[in-house]
C-alpha cells in the first residue's frame, strides 16, 4: 500500500510588517487570486456533483436500462452493449463454466429430450414401415435377400431404405493434391473439382499434422449429415469418394482394390500421368456401387452357416447314436445276465437311454440277490428300478437252496438236487434223519428223494451206549489155564473185547468223553497171596499186550481183586473230556 503524497505546501506569506495595515495581504490576495479561487470552488462543486451522480448510478442504472427499449435510442444502447456483453459472456464461459451449465441446464434438458423424442419418433416410423413391409412381397424379397447374404434382415432394410449414392469420385495425387481423375454422378452440377481436391488434401494434411502424428494415420472419412467422404490413401494417390446414405461395407474394400490397381498405371509424381481412360474404368459412381454389391460374399455366406449347422447336427446325432448304441448294448448284456440268473424270471425291461431303467420280473425268495448283476451292468448314473413278483422256481439250484433252508441239515450232511431228485448224503443224528425223511418229499420242486444217510447218535445216546459197552466189557473174562497162559477159548473172548473197545472209542467222540482203558488181572482162591498178586499182574499185562497187538494201545494193566476166577478183562472207565 502506497502512502498518499503529502499535500503541497501552500505558498506562505511573508510575516506581516507591523507597519503594514491589518488585512492588507488578504485584500492583495483577493485582488490577485480572486477569480481563480472562484473557478476552483466551482470545479469542486462540479466534482462533488459528479461523484454524487456516480454514487447514485447503481440505483438509477436498472431503471434506466428497463426504460431503454421504449426510448428512441434503444438500438444504440443495444449496439453499445453488444460488444461488452459478448466479451463478458465469453469471459464467464471461460472462467465460470459450471455456473453457465447450471443456468442453462433447465433449457438444455428439454431441448435434448425434444430432440431425442423426434429421433425416436422417426425411428419408430421407420420400424413400423419395416414391419409393415415384412409381410409384403417386397419384404419377403428382402428377407430372402438377407437369408442368402447371411446378414440380418434389419441390415437389408436399412440398405434399401438408406440407399447409397455416390456423388463424386476423385483420384488425387497425394503429394500435390491435384486431381488426376474425377467422375461425378450425371445429375449433379459441375463443380471446381481441383479446388475441392486441393482443400481435401489440405484438410488431410491438417488432420495428420494435428492429431495423426503419433498414430501415422490421416483423414479416412468425414461426414456431415447424410453426406459422407471416404478417403482411401495410397503411396502416390488417394481415392476420395463423396457419398450420400449408407454405403455398403464392401465399397471401401473395392476402392482399396481399385486404388492398388491404379498404382500399377500411375506415372511419376508431378507428372500428369497416362491417359485416365486406360485405367479409370470402373471408378464411375455407378460402377463402384455395382462392384461393391457384386462383392457380397454370396456363395460362402449362404452356405457356411448351413454347413456349420449341418456339421453340428451330424455331430450331435452321431454322439446321440453312439450313446444310444452303448446303452442298448449294456441293457442287452444285463438282460442276458438276468435271464440266466437262477430263481429270477425276467418279464421285461423298460429303458430311457442313460436316464432310467425299470426291470420287471418274478423272483424266488431263495434266489441269490440281483445287486451283483446290476453292478456289473455299468449303467452310469442310472439307478435301476426293480418291480418284482414272487414265484416258486423249479431250478435245481433254487430247489437245493430251498431244501437247505427248510431242512436245516447238520454238519456232515450234503444236499444236492439234480433233475428234481433231492440227494441227502452224509451222517446225521437219528432224530434229524427221521424228520428229514418226512419233510423232504414235501419241498416244492422235489420230485424224488434219495437218502444215503448214516444215522448218528447224539451225545446222551452215545454215553448210554458207552455205559452199556463198559458193562459188556466187564463181563468178557479171558480165561487162563495156568498163571499167564490163556485157556483154549481165550482168543474168542479177546476178539469180543477188541470189538467192544473199538465201538467204545467210536462213541467217545460223539458222547464228548474220554475213555480210560485198564486191563484187570484176576485169580482164584488157591495159592499164596504174593504169588497170586504176581499172577494177576501177569494176566493184566498179557491182556494189555494182546489189545495193543490188535491196534488198541494205551491200555493200562492193573491188578484186580483176588479170589474170583482165573481171568483177565477190560475195564472201560468213562471220564469227562478235558
Amino acid at each position: 500500500m502506497t502512502r498518499p503524497a503529502p499535500a503541497a505546501p501552500r505558498p506562505s506569506l511573508p510575516p506581516e510588517d507591523p507597519a503594514t495595515p491589518p488585512g492588507a495581504f488578504e485584500r492583495l490576495r483577493e485582488l490577485l487570486l480572486g477569480s481563480e479561487a472562484r473557478e476552483l470552488a466551482n470545479a469542486r462543486a462540479r466534482i462533488a456533483a459528479l461523484e454524487e451522480a456516480q454514487r447514485a448510478l447503481p440505483e438509477r442504472l436498472p431503471a434506466a436500462l428497463a426504460a431503454a427499449p421504449d426510448a428512441d435510442h434503444a438500438g444504440r444502447l443495444a449496439a453499445a452493449l453488444a460488444a461488452p456483453v459478448s466479451a463478458a459472456l465469453g469471459t464467464a464461459v471461460r472462467t465460470q463454466p459450471k455456473l453457465l451449465v447450471d443456468g442453462l441446464f433447465p433449457v438444455i434438458g428439454p431441448l435434448i429430450r425434444k430432440s431425442i423424442a423426434e429421433a425416436l419418433r422417426s425411428f419408430v416410423a421407420d420400424l413400423n414401415s419395416a414391419i409393415e413391409s415384412s409381410l409384403t412381397p417386397r419384404g419377403l424379397r428382402w428377407r430372402i435377400e438377407a437369408w442368402r447374404a447371411g446378414v440380418p434382415y434389419a441390415q437389408v432394410v436399412l440398405r434399401h431404405r438408406l440407399a447409397c449414392s455416390i456423388d463424386h469420385v476423385f483420384l488425387i495425387e497425394r503429394e500435390s493434391g491435384r486431381v488426376l481423375w474425377h467422375a461425378a454422378a450425371p445429375e449433379l452440377a459441375a463443380l471446381d473439382g481441383d479446388a475441392i481436391a486441393g482443400m481435401l488434401t489440405a484438410l488431410g494434411e491438417f488432420v495428420q499434422d494435428s492429431v495423426g502424428k503419433t498414430s501415422g494415420g490421416g483423414l479416412e472419412s468425414a461426414s456431415v449429415g447424410e453426406h459422407l467422404v471416404w478417403v482411401v490413401a495410397g503411396p502416390a494417390a488417394n481415392l476420395a469418394c463423396f457419398m450420400r446414405g449408407a454405403p455398403p461395407p464392401q465399397l471401401r474394400e473395392r476402392l482399396q482394390q481399385r486404388l492398388e490397381e491404379i498404382h500399377l498405371h500411375l506415372g511419376e509424381p508431378g507428372g500428369n500421368g497416362p491417359d485416365a481412360s486406360s485405367w479409370a474404368a470402373g471408378l464411375e459412381p455407378g460402377g463402384l456401387l455395382s462392384a461393391a454389391d457384386a462383392a457380397l460374399p454370396a456363395g460362402r455366406a449362404r452356405l457356411w452357416p448351413w454347413l456349420v449347422l449341418i456339421l453340428v447336427a451330424c455331430a450331435a446325432l452321431g454322439l446321440w447314436v453312439v450313446r444310444d448304441v452303448r446303452w442298448n448294448a449294456r441293457v442287452a448284456e444285463l438282460q442276458a445276465a438276468l435271464a440266466t440268473h437262477p430263481g429270477f424270471l425276467p418279464l421285461g425291461i423298460e429303458t430311457k437311454s442313460w436316464r432310467a431303467l425299470t426291470i420287471r420280473g418274478m423272483i424266488d425268495r431263495d434266489a441269490p440277490p440281483l445287486e451283483a448283476v446290476l453292478a456289473r451292468a455299468d449303467l452310469g448314473k442310472v439307478t435301476p428300478k426293480l418291480e418284482f413278483g414272487r414265484y416258486v422256481s423249479g431250478d435245481d439250484a433254487i430247489v437245493a437252496a430251498r431244501a437247505r433252508r427248510l431242512l436245516a441239515p447238520p454238519a456232515g450232511v450234503g444236499i444236492a438236487v439234480a433233475d428234481g431228485v433231492l440227494s441227502v448224503t452224509g451222517s446225521a443224528p437219528a432224530g434229524w434223519v427221521a424228520a428229514a425223511r418226512e419233510r423232504a418229499p414235501l419241498i416244492a420242486g422235489v420230485a424224488d428223494v434219495d437218502f444215503r444217510l448214516a444215522e448218528r447218535l447224539d451225545r446222551a445216546a452215545a454215553l448210554q451206549a458207552l455205559q452199556r459197552l463198559a458193562a459188556r466189557a466187564a463181563e468178557l473174562q479171558v480165561p487162563f489155564a495156568e498163571e499167564a497162559e490163556p485157556a483154549a477159548d481165550a482168543a474168542a473172548v479177546l476178539a469180543a473185547i477188541v470189538a467192544v473197545a473199538r465201538e467204545a472209542a467210536a462213541l467217545a467222540e460223539t458222547a464228548g468223553v474220554t475213555l480210560v482203558l485198564q486191563s484187570v488181572g484176576s485169580n482164584d482162591e488157591s495159592g499164596g497171596e504174593a504169588i497170586n498178586a504176581q499172577v494177576r499182574a501177569l494176566r493184566a499185562r498179557w491182556l494189555a499186550d494182546a489189545l495193543a497187538a490188535e491196534g488198541i494201545p494205551g491200555v493200562e494193566p492193573v491188578a484186580g481183586d483176588p479170589g474170583s476166577r482165573r481171568s483177565a478183562w477190560l475195564r472201560i472207565r468213562i471220564e469227562p473230556a478235558p
Binding site: 503429394e175 500435390s176 493434391g177 491435384r178 463443380l191 481441383d194 486441393g198 489440405a202 491438417f206 500428369n272
Partner: protein, 166 residues
C-alpha cells in the same frame, strides 16, 4: 483432352494481399475462414497460354507467415509454381518473401517462381525502391501488382503459367 493442372502456391508475410490477389484472379469457391482454420485455401482457374495450350492452375493460398512451419511445408509439396507476394509499403515483407522462397526450395527445388510486389495503388507510400526491385529482377521475375485495381495481377499469373510444362 483435358488441360494439365499445376499446383501454384502463394507465399508471403501476413497482410501483403495474397488473398486479395487470388480473389482478383479467380472466383473463389471456399470461404476465407479456411485460412485462419486450416491455414490454406485452394482455388483453381483455367488459363490460356497461346501455343502451349490451356493449363489449370490450382492455387493454394497459404496463410500469411514470415516462416514456414511443418504444416506449411506439407502444403507446399508437389507445387509446380510459387508466387511470392510482398507489400510495397513494407520493405520488411520483401525480405520475408525472399526468406520464404529460400525455405521452400528445400521442398520444391524445381518449382518456377515469381515475385508480386503488391499495393501498387499506394505507390506513393512504397518503401521498396526501384533499385531494390531491379536487383531482385536479376534473380526472378517481379511484377508490381494492385489487387485493388487489378494491375499486374493477370500478368503475374500468366507469366508463371507460361513457364509451366504443357
Amino acid at each position: 483432352m483435358t488441360a494439365p493442372s499445376h499446383k501454384l502456391c502463394l507465399l508471403g508475410d501476413f497482410g501483403v494481399g495474397k488473398t486479395s490477389l487470388v480473389a482478383r484472379f479467380v472466383r473463389s469457391t471456399f470461404s476465407e475462414r479456411y485460412l485462419t482454420t486450416v491455414g490454406v485455401k485452394v482455388d483453381s482457374k483455367l488459363v490460356e497460354r497461346g501455343q502451349l495450350g490451356p493449363a489449370k492452375l490450382v492455387i493454394w493460398d497459404i496463410a500469411g507467415r514470415d516462416a514456414l512451419d511443418a504444416l506449411g511445408m506439407n502444403y507446399l509439396r508437389g507445387a509446380s509454381a510459387l508466387l511470392l507476394v510482398a507489400d510495397g509499403t513494407r520493405e520488411s515483407s520483401l525480405a520475408s518473401a525472399l526468406d520464404l522462397l529460400m525455405q521452400s526450395r528445400s521442398i520444391v527445388p524445381r518449382a518456377v517462381a515469381a515475385m508480386a510486389v503488391n499495393k501498387l495503388d499506394l505507390v506513393d507510400e512504397w518503401e521498396v525502391g526501384p533499385a531494390v526491385l531491379m536487383e531482385i529482377r536479376r534473380s526472378l521475375p517481379v511484377f508490381e501488382t494492385s489487387a485493388l485495381s487489378g494491375d499486374g495481377v493477370e500478368a503475374a499469373f500468366a507469366d508463371l503459367a507460361a513457364r509451366l510444362p504443357a
